[in-house]
Symmetry: C2
Subunit: 191 residues, 2 copies
């Protein structure tokens, strides 16, 4: 399974795992491909899987009471995506997950994931560090949306995630930044 090389690479980076562990891990994840715009998760469903994107681009969003989509995550190659709240509690999700490109994923079910952590307890460390970083990151974004201007957030994103601008339409980036496409268009013109 050539596709999961990066997955194991990241595991190894943060947690010492044996060759035997690696075999167990490879076995627990199931490769899959999905075509652009075919929703992976729809609001109301339970999120049964945790996904690792080996190649491609995904977004997760919710739809408000007026029917407007709000994107809160855009993830590309070698990143995880899921609705963690639904996944870990196995209750219906409020979110949608959808590929913005044809994508290759590795997926693991909730049941299999819990079992994997029992079989390879060292992975707890990897996920501890993963969530720790994700949390710190989310707090940064929170501070940004509360106290910086849309222009500042745009510039920061341009610097931190330039690849996103090459692969994702601006309407989605606008939503991710918490503004309308019109406002993003004006911000870009001013520069």
């Amino acid at each position: 399974m050539a596709e999961d090389h990066k997955l194991l690479y990241y595991f190894r980076k943060w947690a010492p795992i044996t060759e035997n562990d690696e075999a167990i891990i490879s076995n627990a994840f199931e490769p899959m491909t999905i075509r652009k715009k075919n929703e992976l998760l729809v609001a109301g469903e339970v999120c049964h899987y945790l996904y690792f994107i080996t190649k491609g681009c995904m977004r997760s969003f919710y739809i408000d009471t007026k029917g407007v989509e709000h994107i809160y995550q855009i993830r590309m190659d070698n990143n995880w995506i899921s609705d963690l709240e639904s996944f870990f509690s196995q209750t219906p999700s409020k979110y949608h997950i959808e590929p913005l490109e044809d994508s290759h994923l590795l997926r693991i079910s909730h049941e299999r994931f819990e079992q994997l952590l029992v079989e390879v307890p060292r992975l707890e460390r990897y996920f501890r560090i993963l969530f720790q970083k994700a949390y710190v990151n989310a707090l940064h974004r929170l501070n940004g949306t509360m106290w910086e201007t849309a222009l500042d957030r745009y510039n920061e994103m341009l610097k931190e995630q330039p690849e996103v601008f090459q692969r994702v339409p601006l309407i989605y980036i606008a939503s991710y930044l918490g503004i309308t496409p019109e406002s993003l268009s004006r911000i870009r013109r001013q520069k």
Copy 2:
């Protein structure tokens, strides 16, 4: 050490630990008290400790280029507080941590923390789940500040964390909600 009972209680809740583990843990944490308004961490310093609040109330905030304070965390009894980014990377912090009440804490240094995780690897599981929940929570707040009105956020906080309103001045709550004290005052009047 009567004070750390709740700490061990929470560890036990999410990760199976032995009596021997408990002794090691109790030993690793150092009890301390701090009086209102004496800063525990000042921007520019490295955050050397992870703190568990056994009793009291703390806030963390940053000061922007105009000298305005922006609060991004308010934590009370039986919660953790720290600047995780500075703590784990041992680089200077951008944030301040300060008690809003005289408080009792249990603290652990970075070095001791890493050592503790080696001695009691089962704790990785506890912290994995802790950060996982903190991350999900931060995403909720992020969605709220991006796409809900200040009134909605106020009502949600009133429902989710009523104790905060009884113990923390509104000027701090306003900042935590991402608005000015004047706006919060107007929101409260309208109801």
